[in-house]
């Protein structure tokens, strides 16, 4: 079966939405360079907290450190959200993790598929990437700025929709389940779960987020390779999540006993 087209639709998404802010205002575009970049621009022009930007196609989807996010048209979710709640500012580093947790929960509850949650927030099936998250924020002095959360979920993309070099490392819900899924329904669920976890952060309930994340994260308890930069790689056992969401790793280097806290790295599960 070939995935059917299910155009993104505001009314369909807002039906069943239980949020106060997230998704109450939705912009849907046929095409944009990057929903995160557009989110930044719209935020600067004063769009309210919880505003959502969706695109059927991104021509320059973004990943970490200038990498790209491949965005075949009309089949997947490319979504960015504007978050302005000042209470989130002191828990900024938890936002990427809480987002991954909510995304995993929404996919599991809505579609019956359980992707693994790789620190900090990639969703995988086996070793293949199903969804990615890129958070961007601005800070100026003591005053917090705006926060943009971008998520990309491969929903109905077929193998051939990805470039050849990504076909062995990416997957979609369609490829895993064998049937198309409704993106609007999934988005409703994603917004509901996201706001639940953001509310926990806003009410300083870090312990709840930390413990749910620890239970969900597949990186913990296994051997990992953390590439910090071209010159530095750490090979060790991931043991816990730190107080700011960092990944605690005990290196295998001879004589190394000290826990290293990882905050910026490409993490690969070794086993």
């Amino acid at each position: 079966m070939t995935p059917t087209s299910d155009a993104l639709n505001t009314i369909a998404i807002q039906t069943g939405l239980t949020t106060q802010a997230l998704g109450q205002s939705i912009h849907i575009l046929t095409e944009t360079a990057s929903t995160n970049s557009l989110g930044m621009t719209l935020a600067a022009s004063g769009e309210p907290d919880g505003t959502v930007i969706l695109a059927e196609h991104q021509t320059a989807g973004k990943g970490r450190l200038g990498r790209s996010w491949v965005s075949p048209p009309n089949k997947n979710i490319y979504c960015s959200m504007i978050l302005r709640d000042p209470r989130l500012q002191q828990h900024l580093t938890w936002i990427p993790l809480a987002t991954g947790l909510a995304l995993q929960e929404a996919i599991q509850k809505t579609l019956g598929i359980t992707p693994s949650l790789k620190w900090p927030n990639d969703l995988l099936i086996g070793n293949k990437k199903l969804a990615g998250i890129l958070c961007e924020s601005t800070s100026r002095g003591q005053t917090g700025g705006v926060l943009i959360v971008g998520i990309g979920v491969n929903v109905n993309a077929e193998r051939e929709d990805f470039p050849a070099e990504l076909q062995s490392t990416s997957t979609s819900i369609f490829q895993e389940s064998g049937h198309p899924s409704n993106r609007n329904t999934l988005l409703t669920s994603i917004f509901n779960y996201l706001e639940k976890w953001y509310d926990q952060l806003a009410s300083d309930n870090i312990v709840a987020v930390q413990s749910a994340y620890t239970a969900a994260c597949s990186t913990l308890g296994i051997d990992v390779r953390c590439t910090l930069n071209e010159a530095r790689e750490i090979h060790g056992r991931a043991t816990a999540i730190g107080m700011d969401g960092s990944l605690q790793v005990i290196p295998f280097e001879q004589g190394a006993r000290q826990v290293i806290e990882i905050r910026s790295a490409d993490v690969t599960h070794v086993r």
């Binding site: 580093t93 890129l134 960092s246 905050r263």
Partner: protein, 155 residues
């Protein structure tokens, strides 16, 4: 002339003298400023008495003194989170800013990344970037100084 333009020119004059240059020109979409000075020999010959005092008064001599950077005046930009400091948006891109560049309030100076959150640090005031304190790619602590900015004070 607006007071911020006056300050901007004064700042250029400061750079001119500090760097011992003779001319600086900057151009933006709506404005071009050129500041020039004639370098005088360290030992000047005795100035002859001016025969036409009226003309002399019409072209006042502009004295430029090399300014001392007042450290107490400098603004320190600090990291709001523990993370990794990047001076450019991607490894191949140019730095957001270099030392001695003029910066404006709200301009992005760097990124501090933690947990795949790319946090753009914006400048708090108009001024000049005096010093970059951290190397790109280095780990930074909460509250660690990243840049020193010499703010332009609007009187």
């Amino acid at each position: 002339m607006k007071s911020e333009q006056r300050k901007e020119i004064q700042d250029l004059v400061e750079i001119l003298t500090e760097q011992n240059l003779t001319e600086i020109e900057i151009e933006r979409k709506d404005l071009r400023i050129r500041v020039r000075r004639d370098v005088v020999p360290a030992v000047s010959p005795p100035t002859p008495v001016a025969p036409f005092s009226a003309e002399r008064a019409a072209t006042p001599h502009l004295t430029i003194e090399a300014p001392e950077i007042d450290n107490a005046r400098l603004l320190t930009v600090t990291s709001p989170i523990v993370g990794t400091f990047y001076r450019s948006p991607s490894p191949d891109a140019d730095s957001y800013i270099e030392e001695n560049d003029i910066v404006s309030k709200g301009q992005v100076l760097c990124i501090v990344e933690a947990m795949k959150l790319m946090n753009e640090i914006e400048c708090e005031a108009d001024g000049r970037l005096v010093k970059v304190l951290v190397e790109s790619g280095a780990a930074v602590e909460y509250g660690q100084p990243l840049f020193l900015i010499d703010p332009i004070t609007v009187s």
